[in-house]
């Protein structure tokens, strides 16, 4: 009883000891904040990683294939039974994406996924990450009239945007035709009038002559080659429209691959829309291409990761502005190789129908999605006899609570590496193991370092307590003279240390939780005070600092901090217990 009473009284009257546990408070608060932010970050990351990766997947190398995917899915269904939620077939291949940005060609590598629009969204969190609200609920590879959310990207998109672009382009082409006509007329008129000016002896048309005192402009050596002129025009490719916006033209005739493909394609001449094509009138057949009206029709739909198009730019005034290289409604080229013995490059003209924005930069900057059937056809993965397509990956989603590793092992047993060496079966955690374990390692080291801070605080407590024991020597003597055992005296100081630790830890937990709760406001406040952005959205691709509070972590942090405080008070308490009562009483 006296132990409790005295611990409590010392707590109330020794404020210097309270000061010594401020470091415990700060250490605990820091631990909680750091753990919560790291856990929030990991949670978000896991969510996003998991979102597109599905639970378990069977994949093959880039140039291998899984034939008869439907049969595989049936086997998997039989094997996993109730554990299986859904499975989908995917073709995954690296490809080159190219499109025009202000007249310059932009080419970059993408990870192209051919997805089955019926099942892909049921296996991965795909649809919620699309920017178009209609597609989020009713997915298709069609360009939409509206529904392009302004939350994820700013500006025009969709059919209206496509039509206005084509309209402008057509007007420019019209202007060019008219100009050409004028040019042709002028050239003809010049040539008509030319003979009288031509030197009769040399018949040299190219030599400028001074006739009757009139200086004519020098004639070109040859009449302009219309094709090369327009080709040159194309590659310059940049005009100003009425409103002064720069617009670009989508055709690049220097692309020999395109021409090659145009000639190779069986389904008639699928050349790209260009009124400048001087040979167009000589093409004999009316192809699909000629019936194609870009105002009405779209190419194969493609969904691009938002970060492929989006660039963050800082304006001179310091604002972050988004710049988009390509928008839903624009056309782009996909270039890839077929599979098989002799991979040949193929090219597909696509229309961007939407953006994919998971906020995982790695995915957003590299993923592009095509319809599964189109990609299978493009890569030559369709059996010409049966019409069955093969795939490169089967993604499996399991019911919540299923044991991923067990399922993976079952699948490996079903498709043993001895018979299916090309199959790579792994869970999403296996795929992201390096990243996840790096983050875990980081968190462990941070926790150790922060606990060292609390340990430093422990030494502060030790010093303070030692002083208090010296100060309380007489009281200890009195208690012993009154029959208090050494153990009791010791537990006064241990109890004192524990109550100080509890108070410090409790305050620390409270401060930490409040800090975590208002972390974004605090970050804004710090940014306002210092003028320095604390959390730069352009770097992290999180709009705000993610946090996740784990009660278990808080519990163990609290226990650890209190234990350190108690341990720090053991030495002073031992000293108090060992004091000789007579010596202590003589102490004045």
């Amino acid at each position: 009883m006296y132990k409790l009473l005295l611990s409590w009284r010392y707590l109330k009257t020794r404020f210097i000891a309270l000061a010594s546990i401020v470091s415990v408070t700060l250490g605990v608060a820091t631990l909680i904040v750091v753990n919560s932010v790291m856990a929030g970050f990991v949670d978000q990351m896991k969510n996003r990683l998991h979102g597109i990766l599905s639970d378990v997947e069977i994949s093959t190398q880039m140039f291998s294939e899984i034939p008869h995917p439907e049969r595989h899915v049936e086997i998997i269904k039989d094997l996993l039974g109730d554990e299986l939620e859904n499975a989908t077939c995917v073709v995954r291949t690296p490809a080159l994406l190219s499109f025009d940005v202000r007249g310059r060609q932009w080419t970059q590598q993408v990870m192209l996924l051919g997805i089955d629009d019926a099942t892909f969204g049921k296996v991965t969190d795909f649809e919620p990450y699309l920017t178009n609200e209609i597609k989020q609920t009713r997915f298709s590879f069609d360009l939409e009239e509206s529904g392009y959310s302004q939350k994820k990207f700013k500006g025009d998109a969709g059919w209206a945007y496509r039509r206005s672009r084509i309209e402008i382009q057509r007007r420019i082409e019209q202007n060019n035709r008219e100009y050409k006509q004028l040019y042709d007329n002028a050239a003809a008129a010049y040539l008509d009038s030319a003979p009288s000016l031509v030197d009769a002896e040399t018949n040299d048309q190219a030599t400028p002559k001074q006739v009757a005192g009139i200086q004519f402009a020098p004639l070109p050596d040859q009449l302009p080659d219309i094709e090369s002129e327009f080709a040159a025009d194309d590659s310059a490719g940049e005009w100003q429209n009425d409103s002064g916006d720069k617009i670009t033209e989508g055709y690049n005739p220097s692309d020999s691959l395109v021409k090659h493909h145009q000639q190779q394609t069986e389904e008639g001449v699928i050349h790209r829309f260009s009124p400048f094509d001087p040979h167009a009138q000589y093409r004999p057949e009316i192809s699909k291409e000629e019936l194609f009206d870009p105002m009405r029709d779209q190419r194969t739909g493609i969904i691009l990761g938002l970060a492929i198009s989006e660039r963050k730019a800082e304006t001179p005034t310091g604002e972050i502005q988004d710049v988009y290289l390509i928008r839903p409604g624009d056309d782009a080229n996909i270039m890839l190789t077929t599979i098989g013995d002799s991979p040949t490059p193929v090219i597909e003209n696509c229309t961007v129908v939407d953006f994919y924005s998971s906020n995982m930069h790695e995915y957003d900057s590299s993923f592009a999605f095509l319809p599964l059937a189109s990609l299978q056809k493009l890569r030559g993965m369709v059996d010409p006899l049966t019409g069955d397509g093969s795939v490169s990956t089967i993604q499996i989603k399991l019911k919540p609570g299923a044991d991923l590793d067990a399922v993976r092992d079952k699948l490996i047993a079903q498709f043993p590496p001895t018979y299916f060496p090309e199959y790579d079966i792994r869970t999403w955690q296996d795929t992201q193991r390096p990243l996840l374990s790096a983050v875990k390692m980081e968190l462990t080291i941070l926790n150790i370092l922060l606990f060292l801070i609390i340990a430093v605080a422990g030494f502060g407590i030790l010093a303070t307590f030692y002083m208090i024991v010296v100060e309380k020597t007489k009281d200890i003597g009195i208690l012993k003279a009154l029959g208090a055992p050494s153990r009791g005296v010791m537990s006064i100081f241990l109890g004192y240390g524990m109550s100080l630790g509890t108070v410090g830890t409790g305050t620390g937990i409270l401060i930490g939780l409040l800090f975590v709760r208002h972390i974004n406001e605090i970050a804004d406040g710090v940014a306002w005070l210092t003028g320095q952005e604390v959390f730069d959205a352009t770097i992290y691709y999180f709009s705000e600092i993610p946090t996740s509070i784990n009660p278990g972590t808080i519990f163990w942090v609290g226990i650890g901090a209190i234990a350190i405080a108690v341990l720090a008070s053991v030495l002073p308490a031992l000293r108090a217990a060992r004091l000789h009562p007579v010596e202590a009483l003589r102490y004045e």
Partner: protein, 277 residues
């Protein structure tokens, strides 16, 4: 927490003036108890020895610089007596009192309390003795500065009982503590801290504290040494009154002959030896 020694066969009830709550059992080392109160009316045995000391030696300091303080003290304290131990500074009277109160251990010699040897007891039995059988008063009062007068008086009871037991008995203890404080004339000072009290008041609080466990021996180490004559006389009056009312054996160390003259017996210590009784 005070120790509750287990009752074991072969152990004796050494306390002839046993209070109902006394639970100490001390291993029999001397002859069996001559008297037995049996929980009934306390017996007053005339001239029976409460404490006795046989050839007690005590010195302080390390081997090379040993300062002998007690050089063979023999004495006996009788039941119900007011014994004063007087002597010059450095004559060893405070040391003797500390030894009697088991606060310190002698180099050699024997101390008996009710015919039990107590100088070589295990520490938990000594703690028990200090808590129940001996009340102690010091020259510098030695109150705990963080606690109120009432709490200071209750401290021995808190030391004696565990938390739950104390809580159970709290009402009775408080009543007794207030009674004692009223007896020493401090009924109006219950919630004052020691630094708000005068020297005399502090010493009277210390007296109340020494009585809360109903001890049979009161050990007072120069209780008036730090007080003016007025307060000193009050404290002495309290002590003498107590001796009569509470049936206490009082051993008081002092260097003041006038105070010693009020005692039944005076033991004079000179240079670590008993010079006269």
């Amino acid at each position: 927490m005070s120790d509750v020694a287990q009752s074991q066969p072969g152990q004796l009830e050494p306390n002839t003036l046993a209070k109902p709550d006394v639970r100490i059992r001390i291993k029999a080392q001397a002859s069996p108890a001559t008297t037995n109160g049996g929980g009934g009316t306390p017996l007053r045995i005339a001239n029976s020895s409460v404490m006795s000391v046989k050839s007690l030696y005590k010195s302080y300091g390390k081997a090379s610089v040993k300062v002998p303080v007690l050089k063979g003290v023999d004495l006996e304290i009788f039941e119900g007596d007011f014994t004063a131990i007087i002597g010059q500074s450095g004559s060893g009277k405070s040391t003797l009192l500390h030894l009697l109160g088991t606060l310190d251990a002698p180099d050699s010699g024997e101390i008996y309390y009710r015919e039990q040897r107590i100088d070589n007891l295990p520490s938990r039995h000594k703690e028990h003795l200090r808590n129940r059988q001996f009340g102690m008063i010091f020259q510098f009062y030695h109150l705990l500065p963080e606690l109120t007068t009432l709490e200071n008086v209750l401290i021995p009871r808190m030391v004696q009982d565990g938390f739950f037991r104390y809580m159970k008995n709290k009402r009775g203890y408080r009543k007794r503590a207030i009674e004692l404080l009223e007896m020493v004339g401090l009924g109006h000072r219950l919630t004052h801290k020691p630094n708000q009290l005068s020297g005399g008041e502090m010493q009277r609080t210390a007296i109340a504290r020494s009585l809360i466990s109903d001890p049979s021996v009161l050990l007072a180490d120069e209780p008036t040494g730090n007080l003016d004559s007025e307060n000193g006389r009050e404290v002495m009056d309290t002590l003498t009154a107590l001796r009569k009312n509470e049936n206490l054996t009082v051993i008081m160390v002092t260097h003041d002959d006038s105070l010693a003259s009020k005692a039944d017996r005076v033991i004079q210590l000179v240079n670590g030896k008993v010079a006269g009784i």
